[in-house]
Symmetry: C2
Subunit: 338 residues, 2 copies
DNA sequence: GCCTGGCACTCTGCGCGTGCGAGTGCCAGC
DNA sequence: GCTGGCACTCGCACGCGCAGAGTGCCAGGC
């Protein structure tokens, strides 16, 4: 177990390194933090911290930098979440309130997060899984061609064209539309399959094929859209990454383009609060020198999607966590209002 | 006027520089291209080309590199468009044909362009301006709350919530839906305003307010959506940019995040064929060391949107132009089919 | 037993001078 | 108008030495 002072030394190292981006030495530490002991003592503590794997030196006779393990301890035990100031909170709220539709909410959220944290922001579109159906609409495009439009409670709209085996009359269409909506409106996606199961039986024999086709298209849409989309912003902040650019930045950009990777990344974070994954804790190799700070957000109490930022492991964790948490909270409010 | 051989020398310089990324000297030129003259002669030609501003030397006693003006001449007079090979064309077609909806078409197009050109790809969503209305749908969400859904011939769907001053009956709703569609279905966006102008007059006095509100929301949607969206990909290719990273790459990433800038950029290219904007020809300062190769694409003969790539001025123009042109062609085909 | 001051040691980064090689410009000759 | 030759100019890589920062360790003090 590390003594109290050694933890303070670790905290000081993390803070200084995050600020200066340079390895921090014992002398500088005692000067900038009132630890109440001499550099020599700090050196002993640093040696101990290094033995335990919390810090490392890039080369002999250089200062120390925190390891992933060091950051982990810092985040878990040594740092709190830095709350946003009042003006910051108001600015967030104002900025998000100007949004006109769901796309705009997401776009603004990305910009906002990127600006606040000066890092790369990732925002997942509200997931359909936990959403409810607001309305299902059926339109006749041609005698044997329908369009199915699904509107969700988060304001998302999905449409599919359905080709029918046989022409489908306007009366049948109206009937199907009415029955469908009376069953699924305001119900959760997960419940829809069982709710519409026996619907074809209510129709004339010749229409059943079309009804079944429409239903299966609807179910497909519900499932497919769980392959969520996301929006990314602030990639220009990657240039503040480090000094050895091409090698550091390239794999990150590549990972960011792989939406699958990012979705998995966000999906892994199950913690109800802010989740931090540091360096090698990220499964994807391209993100081994980055940390991901993420949190769920939702229109009600429940999280419907995730948002977060990707930045260098050397980041301001308390500030970033505070910003991420605050933005998630306000996005949730905005979604609930609309 | 430059002699034929001097043009050949310029062409050779551009080709070599694009290949090697290093300033090219007179000796190397004569070795790698059969110009039929000695290095000394080439040196004279190079001096002339430098006087005219087509090439420059980074420092005295280094080789020459093309200037923006040099690339311009190369693109206009010296290089053709390199057509895609048969297998490449088939691969493009296969890849695009797997798309399931409009979003997917655009997403695949971006990936494809980025891979083919190994540069940053930008694809604008099909514009609504020249599109036609496939269908307008009205749904009742609450007694005094409607949802307006607009479906276009390119498969795009836009929805808006309309708050009405007074409750709007189902009969009126059906009436409005029918009248609206009979007037605007399959008509161009630009024609819609005049087509619906007198529509409120057909309704009872108490409904006119709501009808007007719906109509103005529809018109707003048509206009607003001309603020087009676009999709970007292949940013990881920026790392192949040059040797002095942070300075080069940052403004480009920033410009890429400003959708307004990109849209303006694409919009400026009015040429019916492939347009190339080189270095300082781009108004935006961040893109002064990049070239933009763009072209319009569309479902019919007419262009409905643009796509293109952003890369270093030192790029393979013939190959890039060929790839951009080919992709645009096939995307047009796919859109026309769906 | 823990902290402290001192000391010797190790590395990195930087500035400087040097030599090499690539490339140029110019000129006289064909 | 082309060519070969020649002197010249730079940029760059290399080696060197030095200063500075930081460490580890040890002996002494509280």
């Amino acid at each position: 177990m590390l003594s109290e002072r050694r933890l303070q030394v670790l905290r000081a190292i993390v803070q200084d390194y995050v600020g200066t981006e340079e390895p921090v030495g014992s002398k500088a530490l005692t000067e900038r933090h009132s630890l109440g002991v001499s550099p020599a003592t700090v050196r002993n503590d640093m040696a101990a911290l290094e033995d335990e794997g919390y810090i490392a030196q890039p080369h002999t006779s250089a200062g120390r930098i925190p390891t992933d393990k060091g950051y982990r301890l810092f985040v878990d035990k040594l740092a709190g979440v830095k709350p946003m100031t009042g003006p910051e909170r108001r600015a967030i709220q104002n900025f998000l309130e100007g949004a006109v539709d769901l796309d705009d909410v997401v776009a603004r959220t990305v910009r906002l997060l990127a600006q606040l944290t000066r890092q790369v922001a990732v925002v997942q579109y509200p997931s359909l899984t936990r959403s409810t159906v607001r309305h299902v609409e059926l339109l006749s495009l041609a005698p044997a061609r329908l369009m199915l439009v699904l509107i969700t409670d988060t304001g998302r709209v999905e449409q599919r064209v359905v080709d029918c085996a046989a022409p489908f009359g306007d009366a049948s269409l109206a009937d199907l539309r009415a029955r469908l909506n009376s069953r699924v409106a305001n119900r959760r996606f997960a419940d829809v399959p069982s709710l519409v199961e026996d619907l074809p039986e209510a129709f004339e024999h010749e229409d059943r094929g079309t009804v079944s086709t429409v239903l299966s298209t609807l179910l497909e849409t519900l499932v497919e859209e769980n392959e969520e989309r996301l929006m990314i912003g602030g990639t220009a902040n990657l240039t503040r990454f480090g000094h050895d650019f091409p090698l550091t930045i390239r794999p990150v950009l590549e990972a960011l383009e792989e939406q699958v990777v990012l979705l998995k990344l966000l999906g892994e974070a199950q913690d109800p609060g802010v989740t931090v994954r540091i360096g090698h804790e990220n499964a994807h190799a391209g993100l081994n020198s980055t940390s991901v700070v993420s949190v769920g957000y939702g229109s009600g109490g429940e999280a419907v999607a995730k948002l977060g930022v990707v930045g260098p492991t050397r980041m301001d964790y308390p500030g970033t966590m505070g910003a991420v948490r605050a933005v998630a909270r306000y996005v949730g409010q905005i979604l609930a209002e609309s």
